[in-house]
Symmetry: C2
Subunit: 391 residues, 2 copies
């Protein structure tokens, strides 16, 4: 039986703290950690603190962060057929190399079990849960540890990619030491889900009390933007053109700053002739989640993906002034994929459906110039293709 | 005689280091400074170093940075009728309060002279040059110094606004100490041109040699985005709804992150009920230069401006899913204004016309959904209105 793929809703941005990882965080006395405190009503609550000095003493934490049944209930409530689940930040970033390698391996096996034991979807041909594995990307880890783990992940049938922060081995993702890792990931056809954790330096947020708003709304997308821009500038996308990188939060600010980036490259003698293509070309090689909360944002992201072919050669600016046709916008939608960011952004009230999810679905539905096929693509078909989930 | 305003090209993002300021920088031994060195061909050259540790030892500097004739020649070569000139960063940020106040006053008078002595434009009714003045926004300056300078600027007939960095009195623009300054600026109907200088912490750029690309392409727009977001969160735009703020570089990343910002505010108990409106509403109260180098970027900025009225009440999300009609995009164009960023981004070769200027003009011309009236608006008519340059 053919999969009725156009009807499937697939969530590719959804996180878990696997029980083994949550237990690990509970045993820690500094961030990242899970700790217990008495709340205002005198009840004991668990809180998650992922950064030192995090505003509001971290955030409340419950079983939706680790319990598979909660994930499946959330999916059912929102009509999500399949989730491609990733460990939530900060992953293994804070661990010494030896611990990181072992824990990565254990968590990858845990996630495979979490997915393979999930109910069937799509008439029995697929599972409800698939996953992104973890690499032990920490300072002083050996290349062979990283390559071993790439091999482990690619051999686990329900893991379809790797979630990755921006630190690499401590020097970012433009580190030459990662060269063979990119090669191995490209060869294994694993999708890299590039996700932020650190934001930018907290002093940028000033002294005013604004809760988590500034680091989450701005810091997160800035970090992703910096990481992918450094990767582009390092030539990784020239050397590994088949690498499949999925950017969290619709690429952060990369779409809006990509023409400025191209201009700054063109005007800088240090960089001007380094890359094979105009910077805007590379946006058409990337994938973007649709976690942007607005139709205009999604339409714009599809514009910058769709226009990328005009920039196939370095220095070509002839196409830049042609404007966006409907075909360009539709084309761009094929690299965009629905996500929820669950279990983050729970509603402040006790709503049945999460506002954050409803908004992202409404945003897809409202994009000017996307037809139903494009919207079904963003809601699910594109994910089935990207992750090889067709029967 | 009526001004043929639809034919005028007005550049509202164009900088000068006035001779008095350049002389001041030459006398300094640390950044910001102008220094002399021998270049590779054995010739003496002046270089501008605006930040400590700036990549590539700063940048070459010539008379285009201070000479009015060079500005007028640049304008003529690119068909620019009128420029609204602002001092370039870092303004007075590095000075003690007493020096800053006096130098601000002198530079404002210098800029008035620079503008008032410029040739006529538009059939004699206007000048070719207008200006943004400077406030002595430095730590420990008195409120009365700031208010005096607002009065000085508003009394100088060719100064139409104030260029402002993001530091304020050292604690950012969301500092309560600036409350009466906003009130005075609103009352004087001066346009605030919010412009970056610092970017974000340089450690974000990593170890690789990428020239000025990362701080300019990403750091600058991030800084602007942070500054205006903090201003929105502080309620300044609720308390001073007639304040006219023009954002450099098309608002940086604010347009693309504004729905995420609204969502993060809605989901954060600290901030959720603070503002009068959904965050996206405020984008329709702002002005954006058109220095984004791409048609898709400009079209998107006009979308987010045009949609702002849907978000007039806090918590209204009903309009968010309706998509962007052509009328919305056209509406947004009215708050967008052509700029060049001269004398920055000179062509690496010796081209007659600057690529950075041509690209920004082509970008305006190529916006899908803007008609010629909209484009003329962005090229000049909007600026004439905003700065009160109609006869």
């Amino acid at each position: 039986m053919a999969v009725a793929s156009h009807r499937l809703l697939v969530d590719i941005h959804t996180h878990v703290y696997l029980p083994r990882y949550a237990a690990f965080l509970r045993a820690r006395s500094n961030a990242p950690r899970i700790f217990t405190r008495e709340n205002a009503e005198g009840k004991t609550e668990e809180r998650l603190l992922i950064l030192d000095g995090e505003p509001s003493g971290g955030r409340p934490m419950g079983p939706q962060f680790w319990d598979k049944v909660e994930k499946l209930n959330f999916m059912e409530r929102h009509g999500i057929d399949i989730s491609v689940v990733s460990s939530a930040n900060p992953w293994l970033d804070f661990l010494p190399a030896s611990t990181a390698h072992q824990l990565a391996s254990e968590l990858n096996n845990d996630l495979e079990e979490y997915c393979s034991s999930s109910p069937s979807a799509a008439g029995g041909e697929l599972k409800q849960l698939y996953g992104f594995g973890l690499l032990p990307l920490v300072p002083e880890v050996t290349t062979s540890s990283l390559l071993d783990t790439v091999r482990q992940i690619s051999a686990l049938p329900h893991l379809k990619g790797i979630i990755m922060g921006s630190r690499g081995l401590g020097k970012g993702l433009d580190d030459d030491a990662l060269e063979s890792v990119w090669a191995a990931i490209q060869k294994a056809r694993l999708v890299v889900f590039l996700h932020p954790h650190y934001g930018v330096d907290g002093k940028e947020w000033g002294d005013k009390e604004n809760g988590h708003v500034l680091p989450l709304a701005l810091g997160f997308p800035f970090e992703t933007t910096i990481a992918i821009t450094r990767l582009i500038l390092s030539g990784v996308l020239d050397r590994y053109p088949d690498l499949r990188i999925l950017l969290a939060h619709s690429g952060g600010a990369l779409p809006q700053l990509s023409s400025r980036l191209a201009s700054c490259i063109d005007h800088d003698p240090v960089v001007a002739s380094r890359l094979k293509h105009d910077a805007r070309y590379y946006l058409g090689k990337l994938y973007f989640d649709a976690v942007a909360y607005g139709s205009e944002e999604l339409g714009f992201v599809s514009d910058v993906i769709g226009r990328s072919d005009k920039f196939v050669k370095s220095g070509s600016s002839a196409g830049a002034s042609k404007g966006t046709g409907a075909a360009t916008r539709r084309l761009g939608s094929r690299r965009m994929l629905f996500g929820t960011d669950h279990p983050f952004f729970p509603p402040l009230g006790g709503a049945e459906k999460w506002k954050s999810v409803v908004e992202n679905l409404e945003a897809i539905d409202g994009v000017h110039g996307w037809d139903e096929v494009d919207k079904d693509g963003v809601r699910g078909t594109n994910a089935l293709s990207l992750f090889g989930l067709r029967s």
